[in-house]
């Protein structure tokens, strides 16, 4: 097992990780800014570097459906999408999770029209948060690679058997190049073993009409699997750290232990915030960062006592508020949150801007970055 340092975009690193875990079927439809992922996979398959069936479907609805049809035969599958493509899959996201299929999907975060805009935003993925998919948000090319490898092991664990969505900020990460270690996972992702795969020698019906009480049980089973996935994620990330030396947690904390104020964000904003914390520390402000990686299952052990939270949402739930801020407030009623809405449609948000959010925070209020205060 030799790790080599290579330069890559986030998209290509994700594709390389997919190649490493050897899925049998990949079904996908191109969409900006995801396209590079499936182009790279098509090249691998076309060039004989990857022994998989690549199904170039006619829509994202069919991409997810083809993954469902392939997965139930008991093999490993992958797809990738973004933005409107994810929304076009919406119906089938429910079918995938409800059928307990460990499909892994790269999801390149992009805003939604109108107007047309191709840049980063988390609204696409967050609008799918109730579909029963696990969601992880990554912040570096290395993490995109590592999370993709771990996603298969987590999804395919018999305690979970739920699909996993790996979220990566469009262009900010999908298209920028960083050096990363291309670790060969070896047997880190074991052979898939689906207990309910189709077997013509033991015929069963799948997804038949189910009475209310049984349906209720199915749904509760999904929630039990979500809860169990917390353990599986922790085990997988610990095993990954032990074996490959790179460690991850559901919430990546930076300078949080003694912090009075913590910036909370997902994806690249959460990484950028570490620079803001450094600047603030030099000014004597005890600042830290909590970068939420796993939004589903939602973190149940945020250490927020005595701290102000500046939650930056690159999303919005109209008529309610920032999604992440709302989720934290619901889970931790005592949380003291200053909600910042920033980065929609790819709006630039620098570490200097984030430091300003902290300096000017008003707990209990919502602030839209770039909108004059008198209009808020």
């Amino acid at each position: 097992m030799s790790d080599k340092l290579v330069m890559s975009t986030g998209n290509k690193a994700m594709a390389a990780a997919v190649k490493m875990v050897k899925p049998t079927v990949v079904a996908a439809y191109p969409i900006t800014p995801q396209t590079e992922v499936i182009e790279a996979i098509a090249e691998y398959v076309g060039g004989g570097e990857m022994d998989a069936r690549y199904i170039p479907v006619e829509s994202e609805h069919s991409a997810m459906t083809a993954c469902i049809g392939a997965s139930i035969t008991g093999i490993r599958v992958f797809t990738a999408t973004s933005s409107h493509g994810l929304l076009y899959m919406h119906e089938m996201l429910h079918w995938a999770a409800g059928a307990r299929l460990p499909i892994v999907m790269g999801q390149i975060n992009r805003t939604l029209a109108p107007g047309w805009n191709i840049w980063a935003e988390h609204s696409d993925a967050l609008s799918q948060r109730d579909t029963g998919w696990l969601q992880v948000y990554v912040s570096t090319v290395q993490e995109a690679y590592d999370a993709t490898i771990m996603a298969f092991r987590i999804a395919e664990d018999n305690r979970v058997l739920l699909p996993v969505m790996i979220n990566m900020d469009g262009f900010l990460l999908s298209h920028i190049m960083q050096p990363f270690e291309m670790t060969e996972p070896g047997d880190f992702v074991p052979q898939i073993s689906l207990p309910h795969k189709i077997d013509v020698n033991d015929p069963k019906g799948y997804g038949a009409m189910s009475p209310s009480d049984i349906h209720f049980t199915f749904r509760h089973d999904m929630e039990k699997a979500m809860r169990a996935s917390r353990t599986v994620i922790a085990e997988t990330e610990a095993a990954f750290a032990k074996r490959f030396g790179r460690s991850y947690a559901p919430i990546e904390e930076y300078l949080c232990d003694d912090a009075d104020v913590v910036i909370v964000a997902m994806g690249t904003l959460g990484k950028e915030a570490e620079v803001a914390a450094d600047i603030l520390r030099k000014e004597g402000v005890k600042a830290g960062v909590m970068r939420i990686r796993w939004l589903r299952p939602f973190p149940i052990d945020m250490k927020i006592e005595g701290k102000d939270l500046v939650v930056i949402d690159r999303d919005y739930s109209f008529g309610f508020g920032g999604v992440v801020a709302g989720e934290i407030q619901a889970r931790y009623p005592q949380a003291k949150i200053a909600s910042v809405i920033a980065g929609l449609g790819g709006q630039e948000v620098t570490y200097e801007d984030m430091a300003t959010f902290v300096r000017t925070r008003k707990v209990g209020t919502e602030f839209w970055f770039g909108i004059p205060s008198e209009e808020q």
């Binding site: 049998t24 079927v25 079904a27 998989a52 069936r53 199904i55 170039p56 479907v57 006619e58 829509s59 609805h61 069919s62 991409a63 459906t65 083809a66 993954c67 469902i68 049809g69 392939a70 997965s71 139930i72 035969t73 093999i75 599958v77 119906e91 089938m92 079918w95 189709i198 077997d199 013509v200 015929p203 069963k204 019906g205 799948y206 997804g207 038949a208 009409m209 189910s210 009475p211 049984i214």
Partner: protein, 296 residues
């Protein structure tokens, strides 16, 4: 004579309406396909006919999927089976709504990609599962709950749309002719790539016919020429025996219309229009068969 296996692949507990044409067709489809088969069923009558969990009508695995999704699901399933070296038959069994309307995009995509599965559309000419609303396959003049005065536009010519994909095997069939169905399914499954069979499936509650008349009504459709049985293997187009016989002297379409309550609001002018369309179509089909024979 075709030797149809005695063994039943459907158990004796279907939740069908009495006289269901689609179940009659499925009985022979499964006899032809055998045990190494998976059925993919989108939302339609047959997603209910199979019974309520944990019970099941079929003796082969059945995978239920969303309305628009059958052909894409079968694509993934077939690719996965082939990837691991399995020959398992993947058969979609979908209604006309899931085929001609909401499912047509996925179907077209799968046919264009050359996926290896058999798609069977059982056509009861409306959304039967939800209580007979019009579909793209509902014929001119038919009353449905959303066309209370009779449909004012023609049935979508699904077969011509499918044909444009140049698939290796395509056929029509009718629930009233089980041996024809059996043979066509057998042949279809012997050919790699995408296959499509369009089966007219009389629906007693929807068509407003007595449940014991299903077979008779289907035969009337074929004998009048409003439904023609044919098959196309690569470029070889053949009219099937029952239609070859019927086309020598087709019975009046008016008899077929009069036998069904759903056509009760069809006036003489509309009936004449339907007859003219049938006549024209029969000429077209005869010409196509003759052309195919000459160029064989």
């Amino acid at each position: 004579m075709t030797e149809i296996p005695k063994e039943e692949m459907l158990l004796k507990c279907p939740s069908t309406c009495a006289g269901c044409g689609s179940l009659l067709a499925l009985r022979y489809i499964l006899k032809a396909a055998g045990k190494d088969t998976v059925l993919v069923i989108p939302a339609c009558c047959n997603s209910v006919i199979q019974g309520v969990y944990p019970y099941m009508l079929h003796t082969v695995p059945v995978y239920n999927i969303a309305f628009a999704a059958a052909a894409a699901c079968a694509s993934g399933m077939s690719e996965a089976f082939r990837a691991v070296g399995k020959k398992t038959n993947v058969i979609v069994y979908a209604g006309d709504g899931g085929t001609a309307d909401i499912g047509i995009q996925a179907l077209s995509g799968a046919l264009e990609r050359g996926e290896d599965f058999l798609y069977i559309c059982y056509d009861n000419e409306a959304y039967g599962n939800t209580g007979m609303q019009r579909s793209g396959a509902t014929p001119l003049g038919a009353i449905t709950t959303t066309t209370p005065n009779g449909k004012t536009v023609n049935k979508k010519d699904l077969d011509r749309i499918i044909e444009a994909h140049n698939l290796p095997y395509q056929a029509t069939a009718c629930a009233s002719y089980p041996a024809d169905i059996y043979n066509k399914v057998k042949k279809a499954l012997s050919i790699p790539g995408p296959k499509f069979i369009h089966i007219l499936a009389p629906c007693p509650p929807g068509w407003r016919t007595p449940s014991e008349k299903t077979v008779e009504i289907g035969k009337m459709a074929v004998k009048s020429g409003i439904w023609v049985l044919w098959e196309k293997e690569y470029d070889k187009f053949t009219i099937s025996a029952p239609s070859r016989a019927a086309m020598k002297k087709p019975s009046p379409v008016a008899d077929y219309l009069k036998a069904q309550g759903r056509f009760r609001k069809v006036d003489d002018a509309t009936a004449a229009k339907i007859q003219a369309q049938v006549d024209k179509n029969l000429k077209k089909i005869a010409a196509e068969a003759a052309y195919s024979e000459e160029n064989a």
